[in-house]
Symmetry: C2
Subunit: 181 residues, 2 copies
DNA sequence: CATCTCACTTTGGGAGGCAGTAGTCAGGTG
DNA sequence: CACCTGACTACTGCCTCCCAAAGTGAGATG
């Protein structure tokens, strides 16, 4: 039912609120405007007023959000020129944004399954190459699909051994695993 | 680089801002307090003031957030009784919350890789059973790993054929539901 | 019966997201 | 040269998130 915590994480009080990567990620993409802009970027939008119009946000908000997303590195601003027009700028997804895609897909499928109300799921995703439906899986390097209660979380840098010899000093009950009840 | 849109989705102007499941998902888990409460729930927290203290939020906010999360169905309130204590309530993750885990893990790993600043990644996740590092993958029912530009998005209910026959009338579903938040 | 703990609620205030309107600036068109 | 378009910026005001501090009520403890 819960993650298994190792190392300094086992001391919940000192770590939890700080440096939580989920919190940091949501600080970047957690607002309605940021999510809207990103969604439109994934769907192919590149230009300023398309972002504002399609994401349904005010121009001032679109400008601020695009600036923020460029600043954190999710979008890059690149010049382009249509014939007979002056040079303008368009926004492109970076590798950082492409790496975020599994999270977006997972959120999309979860939201679609649980939050669409009485009208039910609205979106179906499939693999463009083979047509099969898509899902997001958590899996390990050995190829196992990992369930919610099979995840061990430790500070990066700590050894990854399964058969931990312990002698882990003062981490009172270093593995905090709670069974389902 | 972008999703392939099919069906009524291809008409961006009519669909985009409405019924977007990512927006709905973020309305539920996109605030600092909601993310903090959920994080603590995944790590094993069950009781009110542990949530407030460990998530680093004010009690008033914790109360409001727990109420919201129970209302949408991510947490359930269950009575418990310690010996010599009166009956109290604790909060448990529901199946809906467990289904959200892939999204959380994906966000965690992305945030950890890109947003931890100069101190670098802080969290390492591994499979409790075999010790191998964990990653989140988007894959299809045929077992292929799906890249960012290999995703086809269509209204659910439309046929999934790769060779799309097109000529599909407008499946303009009725927009329902008000945003939470 | 006074006190304590747990699980909240209430009140008050500050910060920031967001809409809406208006204004700016560069460069092309009539 | 006036006008238009694309890409913004500035300003006002509402609304939500959030914190801090104080208060409440039920039940256990002394």
């Amino acid at each position: 039912m819960t993650f298994v915590l190792k190392g300094s994480f086992a001391d919940r009080d000192t770590w939890s609120p700080r440096r939580c990567p989920v919190t940091k990620a949501l600080a970047v993409i957690g607002t309605r405007s940021a999510a809207g802009v990103l969604r439109e970027a994934y769907l192919g939008t590149r230009r300023f007023d398309d972002f504002a119009r399609l994401a349904g946000i005010a121009e001032a908000v679109a400008a601020a959000r695009l600036r923020d997303l460029v600043a954190v590195g999710l979008l890059s601003k690149q010049p382009y020129q249509e014939p007979g027009q002056r040079i303008r700028l368009e926004y492109h997804l970076t590798q950082m944004a492409l790496d975020l895609m599994p999270a977006i897909v997972a959120l999309m499928q979860w939201g679609d399954a649980y939050l669409q109300g009485e009208s039910g799921p609205a979106v179906a995703l499939s693999h463009a190459n083979c047509g099969q439906p898509i899902s997001t899986k958590v899996c390990c390097a050995a190829g196992h699909v990992v369930g919610p209660d099979e995840i061990t979380m430790r500070p990066s840098g700590m050894p990854t051994a399964v058969t931990s010899p312990q002698s882990d000093a003062k981490t009172h009950a270093a593995g905090v695993s709670v069974g389902a009840r």
